[in-house]
Subunit: 761 residues, 2 copies
């Protein structure tokens, strides 16, 4: 039911292109009738409503006061429009960035407060740009595949225009026609042309970069009422001459042959029907602002397009999806390239929540997020949110166990999120069995991360970059992003023969995706997600299943992790667990080296120090660690002679770009088939003030694989208190009605459906 | 003025011993009159007052409800008095610990609530112990120099008695005379005898252990009205037969020949006249409970002793001292052995703040700490605090720049704390030039740590121990505490020839202390502390000065660090800086090794990996790092060919007992004399949500030593914005009136007093 058929999408797309053509005609006819201003984000009617409510809506008033103070300080500081010179983090970059953010706010203040000083400020700054822009060559910094003029990349030039279009809209009527003509001729039109016609390799793509480019052009087109430009924004440049083998700075292809482009294509392709954005939450967040602000503008100026209903309302749906892709503190799960710490407190998410509330049926759950954010947009959407909060309509936003499919049609695997234990101490599994995720994708099929509250228990490393911190590679991606962060071994998933999935090749990875096997969270005490990957290593099949199980023999729900590997040849398999915190104890012996050497030479292994190796006795290996006042234990059923390796990130890192964090790798050598079964427990607590440790030891006596063939797996989990539980699963049949029967140790077990969990002792 | 002469102290001590003899006579006569119960912490009159206020004092009522819920749950759980078996962290240890904490609370509840179920619970548990105790051999775990019976060490046995005495006092009148006799004969008297006569090596010392022992015996003596036992508690055992060469588990001497012992000696010796406890804040906190609870009991039962006036009221003074030895979050500075995270939220500090408020003249600043603590003692002191808070009397506790002398007479160096920047973003320097600090002392003369808000900028490693976490060496000190944490190289101070101060020898260290040179915080924009150390390395003189300078060319006050070294031979000098966070950039080249080896073989060096070495060009070396959303830069004036070494803690650490944190060492080879001059800046900020970095670069262009001889040092600090400042200091004259004159680069500079800071350009 969740999937929309490919055909339906095409129909919708065709319809919309038609609609947008109609819209153009209409625009032309409307032009004669004189378009109102402001009309994009603020509207004349909206402004009247806002003025009528001033002083009566606390959160709106507070935001207004804050924005006013910020803009007033900038006005007092005076206008600075320097000649572009720096990468991000540098003065000219940050100054121009600040300018566009302030211009947008000043425009809004002019409308709401009717104070000409804001209009004058916008006007003066616009003419400073009008004066500078025509003199600018392409930006002197050369690292980008699409260099801008104000900034080192067209992406940032587009950011500028998305914001400045709104400022222009707000002061449109304040300016004389002559002034407007001058601005449009010398600044806005050439600006829009440069980021579109001037840079088709940037503009004509399906990518968050192009989304910004499309929206920049679209927004200024709406203000200037320029139908041709709007069409370019919506549907891309007709001609681009892009070489189908060309790649961008992140190693992604610019454009597949025959691919549709423009804003509508950028809604169609990267969003799955569930609203999951294939690049991952960090870039979804980044793209949300242009997606939603342009959608709002289209809705205001061209309501007949019904943009919020496009692709079954995916833009609005994506807001809830994104909010669900956060930990207990609202921080985004760093799937693919993602900077840790980014959260729904970002300005893009203020926009998303406000727009989502206003245009998406006033969901009261969004108000609780807006409350946490503590600010609103200064438009009719923000006003509605602030009124909702004032009137006590907010309801808790309960994050759910949920699966989000990936791929334009929802057929390219997905991401499964399983949660337990309520909100504050929430345990959350993030399981990735998605598509490549465009140029920001990591080679980490069937990888996972695990959270307790807002803390990482088993981490996804995220990206190797210090966004906008100039001393770290100009604030851009570091080479360790490629050599470490994207590599398979940087993730909690299987690595075969010390190579990355798909050989670390973007074009191969882009052709493939994992497949969901099952996702079932109906029973809150036994939530199961399972997926298969058959292409990461040709000839080797991977099947990984997680079950988050609430069992009264345990203090907290525990995570059962089952990985089946079926190879055609003998291989070495590594399964890393990047545990966060300090080792407390192990139940196995290991040797620590006198001298640290790297675990390997390439594919990320060159960045790992080998801190110690133990040899399994063939029973269970137990590793306990401590973090954030909690204890954790990983108990793994290991085969005899499995290597148990402690690693530390940070080798071959001459600029200290990597965090010196720990990992634990279970290595199987010369194995064709393999099965990894582990249980991860969160248990007990230690407070450095009371100095009392509770439940500091694992509750698991042992785990045992009691059945294992191509069709079934059976695992016994014995707890310290004596209980014995059996988890059974069929590996090739997910039918809920199918009855299964197995004999294990001379005893027969029967169940219906793909899996079963029972007390056997 | 601050120092009390040695002679005065002796007089006071003699007087008190006399007083306590008198008291004994009085007690005997009082006995015939029947001593009231309770009389130690709760008193009959105090209980009446409490009952009259029930329901009217919110914080008291809340605490009472919390304690009642806790005790009720334990009563429901039933009594468990297991046969002793485990180290700390293990079941029997934690159970007996919980028992004594609950017994004390149950006794209080009986008194306040008049509910016999609490008295019955105390009685039943006491008889369970009365039944068990006579059967017990010494504890089966053998690690302690003074094994207990209920616990592995007499220290914990003493903890038990300090709390249980209070419980016994509370139910004294509930029990029949026969019951009391039985308890005293079979439990309390043998118990007190075992931890005193049975373990003189534990009882007859000056040490936090003995304080607990003395107080345990003293408390039960007060309840039983046993004058002889009380005398033993106050003045120690007359005979002990302790070998003057005997050492405890921490390597400290048990007892110096001729040393006075007992409770009064434990007040006299380790506390300086400023209330600084020579072992450091972590153990001061630990000892505060017995010190204050016994002082309160003595004040109630033997007010004629005027215990709170003893040694110029040092016990009360020590409370404010301890509160000042915390960072912005209330966490204690981990001087000597100290577990990080321990704070004034501990139960010992609740006692300290409440007792300090009640007996120390109702300082309203203590109420603000009590408010943060959110609980009070259930006695008259806690009632007074809760009433004060209810009545709005609380005032902010402003932590000051302050010096605390060390040594019984305040003549053995000290600790200088310098603070700037207000409370939340407070910058705090902790500079240690104290005495050895008994067996918990570290070999770290002239070491420092530096804080911003509650975060460490340059850390003191603290101890190597996971207190009460059983899987880490039974929760006791780990061997890395000796091989790493106590060693000089584990601290931010000078190491000569890769050896520790005093050769790492406790007996040598104990004979020596550093000396204050000056401490002047009169000018809040220029706070200076300076000290000398002449004995750590025979033949080498160390003189280190810090100035925390607020200068308008800098965003925040910066820390100037000047170390002068004068040797008689050529040595290697290392100055480590254990910076917290991730390297952002350096202005020097360095090589990172392909294979990690240790920096040395012993004295802590065996625990450091060498992560990279640069060679200085003889100008300035700059290291910037990032932590907790802030940037920091260390700029050092270095000599040509100084080695700049990056280290990582964690080599030769087979059980992962050490934290993998970073350090930066400036190494001078083959140097007789040396001067280290550095500036540490906190600057800018980066927020991962806004992704905006501000002021990410150091404001220092360079620093230069422009004058340097045996009598003076002159340093020029040039800022990026062009300012040039000169810091001048006389190295052998601290007179405030003395006029100085120097010629530097053909210019004459004059100033009055030990130092001067001026703009010169």
């Amino acid at each position: 039911m969740k999937f929309i058929k490919h055909i339906q999408i095409l129909v919708v797309a065709v319809l919309l292109v038609t609609v947008s053509c109609k819209a153009q005609t209409k625009t032309t006819s409307k032009k004669a009738q004189v378009q109102e201003h402001p009309s994009l984000i603020l509207t004349k009617a909206g402004v009247e409503k806002i003025k009528a409510e001033l002083g009566k809506v606390p959160l709106f008033d507070e935001t207004l006061a804050k924005v006013k103070a910020e803009v007033d300080a900038e006005i007092a500081n005076g206008i600075e429009v320097p000649v572009p010179k720096d990468y991000s983090g540098g003065y000219t970059h940050e100054r121009h960035k600040r300018n566009f953010l302030i211009l947008q706010k000043a425009g809004v203040l002019y409308q709401i407060l009717d104070d000409e000083k804001y209009a004058l400020y916008v006007k003066d700054m616009l003419f400073a740009y009008e004066n500078l822009y025509p003199t600018l060559p392409v930006h002197p910094q050369t690292r980008s595949y699409a260099r801008g003029k104000l900034f080192w990349q067209c992406l940032n030039d587009s950011n500028w225009l998305v914001y400045v279009s709104q400022a222009y809209d707000c002061v449109y009527d304040y300016l004389t026609e002559k002034e407007r003509k001058q601005l449009e001729k010398n600044l806005f039109k050439p600006y829009a042309d440069f980021i579109s016609k001037g840079n088709p390799q940037f503009f004509n793509r399906v990518h968050n970069h192009s989304t910004w480019g499309n929206v920049a052009v679209g927004m200024i087109a709406l203000v200037m009422d320029d139908a041709a430009l709007l069409s370019t924004a919506l549907n891309g440049l007709k001609k681009d001459g892009i070489d189908p083998n060309a790649k961008d700075n992140d190693g992604g292809y610019i454009k597949k042959a025959g691919q549709k482009v423009g804003f509508l294509a950028n809604v169609n392709e990267p969003f799955s029907p569930d609203g999951y954005y294939t690049e991952g939450p960090y870039y979804q967040r980044y793209a949300m602002y242009p997606f939603l602000v342009f959608a709002e503008a289209l809705q205001n100026v061209k309501p007949e397009m019904k943009i919020f209903e496009y692709k079954n309302g995916v833009l609005l749906k994506s807001i809830n999806t994104l909010l669900n892709l956060t930990d207990a503190d609202g921080k985004f799960f760093p799937l693919n390239d993602g900077q840790k710490g980014m959260s729904y407190f970002s300005r893009e998410l203020v926009t998303a929540v406000n727009v989502g509330y206003y245009f998406g049926g006033n969901q009261p759950e969004l108000l609780s997020i807006a409350k946490e954010q503590g600010e609103v947009l200064l438009d009719q959407t923000g006003l509605a949110v602030a009124i909702g909060i004032r009137d006590g309509l907010a309801k808790t936003f309960n994050k759910k166990s949920v699966e989000y499919t990936d791929g334009a049609n929802g057929t390219e695997g997905g991401v499964g999120i399983i949660r337990a234990n309520g909100s504050k101490n929430e345990l959350a599994l993030v399981y990735k069995y998605a598509a490549q995720g465009l140029s920001h994708g990591h080679y980490d099929k069937l990888s996972f991360s695990y959270y307790e509250g807002g803390n990482e228990v088993l981490q996804d490393y995220g990206l190797a970059r210090f966004v906008n911190i100039q001393q770290k590679g100009g604030g851009n991606y570091l080479k360790e992003n490629t050599t470490w962060a994207k590599q398979t071994v940087a993730h909690n998933t299987i690595v075969q023969n010390e190579t990355s999935h798909f050989g670390g090749k973007f074009d191969v990875g882009s052709l493939n995706h994992s497949n969901k096997y099952l996702f079932d969270v109906e029973n809150p005490n036994l939530q199961v997600v399972s997926a298969k990957e058959n292409n990461a290593y040709p000839g080797t099949k991977l099947h990984r299943t997680f079950a988050l199980i609430k069992d009264e023999s345990f203090e907290n729900p525990f995570l059962l992790d089952i990985v089946k590997v079926n190879g055609t040849n003998e291989n070495q398999y590594d399964l890393p667990y990047y545990f966060m915190g300090q080792v407390m104890s192990t139940n196995f012996k290991y040797d620590v080296p006198k001298v640290l050497t790297t675990l390997g030479e390439k594919n990320g292994y060159q960045h790992l120090w080998n801190e110690g190796v133990g040899i399994s006795d063939g029973k269970n290996s137990k590793l306990s660690w401590f973090n954030n006042e909690r204890f954790y234990t990983l108990t793994a059923a290991v085969a005899k002679d499995d290597e148990l390796i402690f690693v530390r990130i940070g080798a071959n890192d001459p600029e200290f770009n990597l965090r010196r964090e720990a990992g634990f790798i279970i290595r199987k050598k010369n194995a064709k088939d393999a099965v990894y079964v582990s249980v991860i427990e969160s248990h007990g607590n230690y407070n450095p003030v009371s100095e009392i440790a509770t439940n500091a030891f694992s509750s698991i006596k042992n785990i045992e694989v009691v059945y294992n063939n191509d069709n079934y797996i059976g695992i016994v989990i014995r707890s310290e208190t004596g209980g014995e539980k059996l988890f059974l699963m069929s590996l090739n049949d997910t039918s809920k009605e199918k009855a299964h029967k197995l004999e294990i140790n001379n005893k027969e077990y029967q169940w219906v459906g793909p899996y079963s969990y029972r007390i056997i002792n």
